[in-house]
């Protein structure tokens, strides 16, 4: 069975579904018996959720107005 170090190195790729079948099977086997690495996996999922969270209103009205002006003037550039 793979070690915790090897398992942890694969967690994000596991979540990205970038692992080869054998690598995924080895990790699944490890996660089946290792609470520590299950905790690491859950933590990695939470970190990813945190970064995927939408951030505020993206464009301020002033910026949107400046970009609109730019768009309207593009032909002259």
């Amino acid at each position: 069975m793979i070690t915790c170090k090897e398992a942890v190195e694969r967690l994000w790729e596991y979540l990205d579904r970038n692992l080869l079948r054998l690598e995924q099977d080895e990790l699944d086997e490890h996660l089946g018996v290792c609470r520590h690495c299950c905790g690491e996996l859950e933590f990695a999922e939470r970190i990813r959720e945190m970064f995927r969270r939408p951030i505020g209103p993206e464009l301020s009205p002033e910026t949107r107005m400046r970009l609109d002006t730019l768009l309207r003037g593009l032909e002259r550039q």
């Binding site: 905790g39 730019l70 309207r72």
Partner: protein, 197 residues
């Protein structure tokens, strides 16, 4: 009296407007501040308009626009790189944030230390953490972990080989973990390790 826009300009404007929030959000995460993000978006609009006549898939321009904006970000970055200190990445591979939080125990009275750590990061802090990543890895990390692009799509967007993208993601993830910890220490969101000792 101003001239009405040509058909191409009107078509471009109609295509681009639904994507402005997305483009600005991406530029903000890449550049780390609103003023620079606006400049990157403006560069991208000009560049995209010039390339617009050659764009085939106008119905779904998202990936193309992402590539144009990322390219504009890289252009601006190249002129700035001389000002930036290049950090050593030798230690990143050995850093594990999950274990670091257990070892340092910044919330001694909590039974959910990892969730408490994540809760420290509001929107502004997340942008600062992303902005502190080494530019080499920042683009890949943001495209993958903020916007959910696959490694293959990132390879198309950045015109880098797939193996290079996977390597950047791997190193970038480690740097992201370290930066989350160091940001929390620097900003005194958690007690400094020496104070706790």
């Amino acid at each position: 009296m101003s001239q009405p826009p040509s058909t191409a300009a009107a078509e471009f404007e109609g295509m681009i407007k639904p994507h402005l929030d997305y483009l600005y959000g991406l530029a903000l995460r890449l550049s780390g501040n609103r003023s620079e993000a606006e400049d990157v978006v403006q560069d991208a609009l000009v560049k995209a308009f010039r390339a617009f006549p050659d764009l085939r898939n106008r119905e779904r321009p998202g990936l193309w626009l992402t590539r144009v904006l990322t390219s504009c970000y890289y252009d601006r970055l190249r002129t700035k790189l001389g000002e930036r200190e290049v950090v050593s990445l030798d230690d990143e591979a050995h850093f594990d944030l999950f274990d670091k939080i257990v070892e340092e125990d910044p919330f001694p009275y909590s039974d959910r230390v990892h969730l408490d750590f994540i809760a420290l990061f509001n929107d502004a802090r997340i942008i600062e953490v992303l902005g502190a990543l080494h530019p080499k890895y920042r683009v890949a990390v943001i495209l993958a972990y903020v916007y959910g692009y696959t490694a293959r799509e990132i390879s198309t967007i950045t015109r880098a080989p797939l193996g290079t993208v996977l390597a950047r993601l791997s190193r970038g993830r480690k740097q992201l973990e370290r930066e989350l910890w160091e940001y929390a220490v620097r900003q005194r969101l958690i007690p400094h390790p020496e104070v706790r000792a």
